[in-house]
């Protein structure tokens, strides 16, 4: 690589950084003030690109294609997305400010599903390549190489937005209110600041930035339906690396990540000490490696401040202990197991298959519920332990280990992964902790995705079937039922054990727990390991029920599914995971059969459930029966 090409790659990195910053700025702004982890930010970005395309096209029909139609379309897109953002806030999120923070995440996840199907219905399936930006369509020459003018334009937009936002926050009354609300929400409200209007305004501003970022991307990439989730993952990473709520931090983080990626590509395939390194392949996980390193060194991100007011992940009501299972619960559980054991005799083979899926999902969700509910530690990357468990089982069985031994290795795999990752994670708290779990999950995912000789790479491994004795659907179901019932009972027993109480103490008041002689980090670490163990066991059951595994078992959507199940069921509800897993799996299966637009349907139902049962279905049932 010559010096000139190094500089050119630096420029590429800068323009990518600018684009990345624009998306992340809105996210960090929204989080800083409202504490909402807006999962739908990528969807707003995608909407920005689509609306800019549509508006630009419509305007071109009216006033002719040119600078005016393009830039006006861009502005319309950003404004339209701002309005959509405000609507989401007013109609949906406003009703959830009293609910656990995580519930807002799930609600925005519902929005993701609806937006994706809505865009498909409105704009069609084909990718839409917009025009090049008028005025910046060509190139200029640098070291004899042509460089797109639009790159230069993007490079300036980022810093302009950075300065404008900084001025807004530091120099205006609106900015003072924003800062007041992000410092201490309750005090700001007590001083007469109209929180509701402020939140709507901030959310709209954040959405505006997302829409603008999407629209500005149009000259570089076609509007397409795959823009949402990768974008929001990137934006999360930038936001967290920079420090949640810090706009300059987001800028710095975007720079570091974009430059790292462009340098990985520039380095190409190299040989270091006789070993070949394909640096471009690292781009799959570069940002997550950066995030893991930054968080290990600076738990609040690069420029983040420790939260002034203590943030909690659970409401007082949700902190109630999981009830000691009483006689009635034992009767319910017994009846349930008996009913489930009778299912195969109905003669509907598919019901058995679906029930197996539900049981596996319930155990997976229960392990996450244990971590979040009892441990107070939110994991956005719980699929890592599920997936590692599945891979351990699958790799073992492919190496001719008998199935029972392979299945027994699954929890070991989950445990090992959780012991290693947990050691780092328990040093953080709140969203930072959650994001570090996500980083680890993505790193594991990209290893599984590329380690062809062991994991089968992107294809995964096939032929992971149980032995003939268990291969009948009903037989495997019986095994799954037994394992899951024991797993759920064990998790329940654990959360009622002295260890479980110590864990709750550490969650609710680390200081007092420490004063009582509880080693808080060690207790949380153990909880992490246990959650990993049970997730791994669920993963092993999953592998043999499907006969194959692929990196998808480790991917973000699986982690999100588990979160949705836990929250639908109720964070501390006794039968929560089982209820959540049943409702979610069954709904998804049912909707996919009756409508092409099943994603949107699922999104709408999730929103309705979240609005109707902010404490989860299990929580609502518990309250009703208490009266």
């Amino acid at each position: 690589m010559t010096f000139a090409s190094f500089l050119l790659q630096l420029l590429n990195g800068l323009s990518s950084a600018s684009a990345l910053f624009l998306v992340a700025a809105g996210l960090t702004l929204i989080f800083g003030v409202t504490r909402i982890v807006n999962f739908a930010h990528g969807s707003l970005y995608m909407l920005g690109a689509y609306v800019a395309y549509g508006a630009g096209d419509a305007l071109a029909g009216m006033i002719g294609r040119g600078g005016a139609s393009f830039w006006l379309g861009l502005l319309i897109a950003a404004l339209a997305v701002a309005i959509i953002g405000a609507l989401i806030e007013v109609v949906l999120l406003k009703r959830l400010y009293a609910a656990p923070e995580l519930l807002q995440l799930i609600a925005t996840f519902g929005v993701v599903l609806i937006v994706r199907d809505g865009v498909l219905a409105a704009f069609g399936a084909e990718d839409l390549l917009g025009p090049r930006a008028p005025g910046f369509a060509g190139t200029f020459s640098l070291f004899g190489h042509p460089v797109p003018q639009y790159d230069l334009f993007l490079m300036t937009v980022g810093p302009i937005v950075l300065v404008a936002l900084t001025m807004l926050v530091t120099r205006t009354r609106f900015g003072v209110l924003i800062r007041a609300a992000s410092e201490n929400r309750a005090l700001a409200a007590a001083l007469g600041i109209d929180e509701t209007r402020l939140f709507t305004a901030v959310f709209a501003l954040g959405a505006f930035l997302a829409g603008l970022a999407g629209a500005l991307q149009l000259p570089r990439e076609p509007a397409n339906l795959g823009m949402d989730l990768p974008t929001v993952a990137d934006a999360f990473v930038v936001t967290v690396v920079g420090g949640l709520g810090s706009i300059p931090g987001a800028f710095l983080a975007a720079l570091i990540i974009a430059l790292t990626k462009s340098m990985c590509i520039a380095l190409g395939n190299m040989e270091i000490a006789g070993i070949g390194f394909a640096f471009p392949k690292l781009t799959l996980m570069a940002e997550f490696v950066v995030m893991a390193i930054v968080l290990a060194l600076k738990p609040q991100g690069l420029l983040g401040k420790p939260p002034a007011a203590p943030t909690t992940t659970v409401l007082p009501e949700q902190r109630e202990l999981v009830r000691a299972p009483g006689r009635r619960d034992a009767v319910i559980a017994g009846t349930l197991v008996a009913a489930l054991a009778a299912l195969p005799f109905l003669g509907d083979d598919y019901a058995v298959v679906l029930a197996t899926d539900i049981l596996v999902a319930a155990l997976f969700a229960a392990s996450l519920q244990f971590l979040i509910g009892a441990g107070g530690m939110t994991s956005f990357g719980h699929a890592a332990y599920f997936g590692v468990g599945a891979y351990f089982a699958a790799v073992a069985v492919k190496h001719a280990l008998p199935m029972p031994a392979s299945l027994a290795l699954a929890p070991v795999g989950g445990l090992l992964a959780a012991v290693v990752f947990g050691w780092f994670c328990v040093r953080l708290s709140g969203v930072y902790l959650a994001m570090l779990t996500l980083a680890f999950a993505q790193i594991v995912w990209s290893i599984a995705f590329q380690w062809d000789s062991v994991t089968g790479g992107s294809n995964g491994l096939v032929g992971v079937w149980p032995p003939p004795m268990l291969s009948a659907r009903t037989h495997y179901y019986a095994l799954a039922l037994a394992v899951v019932a024991i797993g759920l009972a064990a998790l329940l027993r654990l959360s009622r054990s002295p260890f479980g109480f110590a864990l709750r103490g550490a969650r609710d008041s680390p200081l007092r727990a420490a004063a009582l002689g509880i080693d808080v980090p060690r207790t949380q670490w153990r909880a992490f390991a246990l959650a990993g163990l049970f997730a791994g066991l669920a993963g092993g059951l999953f592998a043999f029920s499907k006969g194959s595994i692929s990196p998808e078992t480790l991917a973000i959507p699986r982690s999100v599914d588990a979160l949705v199940m836990v929250l639908l069921g109720g964070l501390n509800a006794l039968f929560g995971p089982l209820i959540g897993a049943t409702v979610f799996t069954w709904l998804a299966d049912w909707l996919a059969r009756i409508t092409e637009y099943w994603r949107a349907g699922l999104g709408i139902l999730i929103l309705l459930l979240v609005l109707a049962f902010p404490m989860g279905i299990g929580g609502a049932v518990a309250r009703l029966t208490k009266r």
Binding site: M1, S16, G118, V147, K261, I265, G460, S548, E552
Partner: protein
Amino acid sequence: MTAVRIALAALAAVALPLSAQTIKFGELNSYKVFPAFLEPYKKGMELAVDEVNAAGGVLGQKVEVVVRDDNGTPGDAVRVAEELTSREKVVLLMGTFASNVGLAVSDFAKQRKVPFLASEPLSDKIVWEGGNKYTYRLRPSTFMQTQMLVPEAAKLGKKRWAIVYPNYEYGQSATAAFKKQMNVTQSGGLVFIELAVPLGKIDPGPVVQALIDAQPDAIFSSLFGPDLARFVREGQLRGLFKDRPVFNLLGGEPEYLDPLKDEAPVGWYVTGYPWYAIATPEHQRFLKAYQAKFNDYPRLGSVVGYSAVIAAAAAVKKAGSTDPEKIVAALSGLTFVSPFGSVTFRPIDHQSTMGAYVGRTAVKDGKGVMVDWKYADGKDYQPTDAVVRTLRPQ
């Protein structure tokens, strides 16, 4: 809007119970993950079902395709495959898009002893390393499509090749196949510079600059979809393609060429589907019927979906029964007429001889088209039988 659609769909599901006297094909695919390809695919299937039933159906019964979304994941795919086989009692499974899903369903078919017609996944493993008795594959594989481009590439006599590919099975096997075949066809001294990019997330600036710095004589790419569009735009701006021949697998498929409109690259060597220019009677008949039914032109997905249903119907007809073992036996050596002409499922590895159109890209009336094309019949782009036997578990 969506709610209305759901309500209507639910109503339709309740109000129109299909007669029990149908032969059901179970189709599962990643409709929401790859809609650009799979919406036309679904239309192709609908057309084929109409035609088969208008001609009296199969074994005296109407044919019905039961469609399920596999959500793009092997886990969900296996679940809907279970549903299709156990509850819907389909006589065979068909569909799938991504290699990992295709391989998982293929393995499921082997386990549950159900015929599976893998219509779309390109992975070589489906018929070779992972091949099994119950699985047949319709589309030309990654190997075959690469093989179709190699003769032209070798003719150019270029020594230094840059290869850019999406970093997963399809891109990796295309790259491996290209390198191997080039070394066989064009003797000696070839240099390959490889650049893997994350699927759907190519960062075009650095990638194009890195390729320019590598100073290749020619480029081989297996990019598609949004990645391809970004690569083309950035590459044209930065002059990457100036005086460099470019070969792009799948680049001529309307799904990926059409979005580029007047910015479609000129002179690239691609595999694809020039629907506007194929004058064979089989294709003309298909084209007219498709346009009459949908008031839209067919994409490659339409041809694949259409052909898959025709092939499945032909297999059941030949088997004379809905017995899975008989259908599997019937698929071996089955010949049917696709819009691309006559196609046979090779008994040796269960790969169909469906081919692809190979040609060069051009821009005409503000649209990307293929010119100087010819039909590459799949039967001519296979390894020798001896090689196939070493690749496939016997």
